[in-house]
Subunit: 345 residues, 2 copies
DNA sequence: ATGAAAGCGCTAACAC
DNA sequence: GTGTTAGCGCTTTCAT
């Protein structure tokens, strides 16, 4: 059989002594077929080493068996986790995943979106970099938005982490340990994730009469290097110690920790840091980075489930799912309250 | 145009006032077409919002525009980097990437291999988990093997890191700093990567009259937890301090560092550790993990280039490319030699 | 340089 | 329950 031409359904049908369509029915587990015929066909397929041509299937039936996933960067630990969750789930639904990294570039995102559509994926899961108003070309096929940009598309299915709850988790944790007014290291200001984060922060601290203007805020890219630089600026601006920092991502928080050390300061004694992501790398620093963990894998898995629902025509109107965050306590935040009590005693 | 049926090449041809085939030629940049006609067709396509159906293209031409990538785990930092390298390169060649995680399971690998073949990818890049003798079904399409398993397929294109050179880099570095006989934490013994690693180790140390039997060796999975356990066993077996450990992966090395700390020992003073991977997470530990860095992205990129060469019919016989490793010096290895000199002085 | 026609491998109506 | 037939949208001879 090696080296010979690829077997088609016709070959299988011939060998099984049935018609093309009967073979097709047997191969696709159609119900209206006799057990005996099915067995014959399956045996023939097996013997021939037949492998269904999904291009042909997709062409005829409209079901290509593929889903598109367009994210900023597959090499970023957070997005890699999301991708893994999506992959596992897609496998369960019998779908393959076409994955693209837009690298936070609007232009690359556009190109990739075109690619997935041309590949005739059945649906697209997208973390949108271009956060402008809705692009009409996005509307005409099953699609699920993931991450913060989802808010811009209220009429679309979307799934993300519950930022409000996550921020509350972090802020409460800080507050319970005596850090009432943490500094913030936020992401790029033009990104939607930034306003969502600030809104959540404002919501929490507003109740305590603190507005974001009262807080020291520095901006950073989602890299440790940039986080380190931002922390440097905070240290310049805020000579008071001890001090606490809430970083919008773990990588940034980790960078902040390096800056702290580089200045001869100790984390958590002089500087407390809390991250936002919950990636594995944060468990390796000393101290480990206490962080709010986003439900990365679940986001990937859920987005696929929602997409399949759309594809199969269940789910009439747009759903918005927001998955809870968890706090991973490690050692990067000091407990000022306990310290004070000990001192008194 | 919204909501209406998807535009086909026939629609484009009609609007441009040419035949289907002329439109097809214009759209695929065929040379034998007048500039004027091409322009007309392109405009029509643009106006209609036409998007080429790659399923149909693939079906007719045999070029689906897709490549398959089957790796152990996209959420593993090393493999995520490989995937990113492959992705960027695939984009350049106008190909999309179908990515699967086998999770080190032979069964899942088999299933995924079937999936990519059914999707009619033009070629497959594979890190083989099942390391038995050659599977005949792998031979009949363009394929490049990546990682250590490649050695089992001498008649296939393959690309990986130069383990011998990497081990030499690590061993030499250790030796120069007075660590003449490091302990080893190796990966699962049944995996081919293990024998390759041990062979390289044997090659280096043989020259110094040291056989692997003289070395303390512990086995570990590619996780920090498992590495931590393995380090615990080493510490039990080897009471002598200071001591050096060469770990076969960064995640394992990082785990070893945690075990060291947990025992109240100091890295690098009591225990020196060197890793093998060069992932970002290793830069966050204290001390940072000195490690041999494998050329992960380059492996991904090169594998795609080789695959495209195969697909396009260049490259008659199997090539084996092995990319050099680099040493990333951080702080996890002590310098016994200098320490001794200082003492003397 | 362009058009007509065939057909890639499959599924979905429609017969029987 | 099974066979027949007609395409899905495109590329590719083969004419012209």
């Amino acid at each position: 059989m090696r080296g010979s031409r690829r077997q088609t359904i016709v070959d299988v049908a011939q060998r099984a002594g049935v018609s093309k369509s009967t073979a097709a029915r047997a191969l696709s587990n159609a119900p209206e077929i006799s057990t005996e015929t099915r067995k014959k066909v399956l045996e023939a397929a097996q013997a021939l080493g037949y492998e269904r041509n999904h291009l042909a299937v997709g062409m005829r039936s409209g079901r290509s068996g593929m889903l598109g996933l367009v994210i900023p960067d597959i090499a970023n630990p957070f997005w890699a986790e999301v991708a893994r969750g999506a992959q596992d789930r897609a496998e369960i639904h019998g779908r393959a995943l076409l994955i693209f990294s837009s690298d936070w570039s609007v232009e690359r995102e556009r190109v990739h979106l075109t690619s997935v559509r041309q590949a005739r994926v059945e649906g697209i899961i997208l973390n949108r970099v271009a956060e402008r108003q809705q692009d009409s070309r996005l509307a005409d096929m099953p699609m699920v938005m993931i991450g913060s940009s989802a808010a811009l598309f209220p009429d679309m299915d979307n799934v993300g982490s519950n930022i409000e709850q996550g921020v509350r988790l972090a802020a409460e944790y800080l507050r319970n340990r005596g850090h009432l007014q943490p500094c913030l290291i936020v992401g790029p200001r033009q990104r939607l994730a930034h306003s969502r984060f600030m809104h959540a922060v404002g919501g929490y601290y507003g109740a305590y009469g603190i507005t974001p203007d009262n807080l020291i805020v520095e901006e950073s890219d989602y890299t440790p290097e940039s986080g380190e630089a931002a922390m440097g600026r905070i240290l310049d601006r805020a000579p008071k110690r001890p001090l606490a920092v809430l970083a919008v991502s773990d990588l940034i928080g980790l960078g902040a920790m390096m800056a702290t050390r580089r200045r001869g300061l100790d984390c958590p004694r002089d500087v407390s840091i809390i991250g936002f992501d919950g990636i594995q790398a944060s468990s390796f620093s000393t101290p480990g980075l206490t962080a709010v963990q986003k439900p990365s894998r679940a986001i990937g898995a859920t987005s696929v489930d929602m997409l399949i629902d759309q594809i199969e025509g269940r789910n009439d109107e747009a759903r918005s799912i927001s998955l809870s965050c968890k706090l991973i306590e490690r050692g990067s935040v000091s407990d000022l309250v306990r310290a004070a009590q000990v001192e008194v005693a």
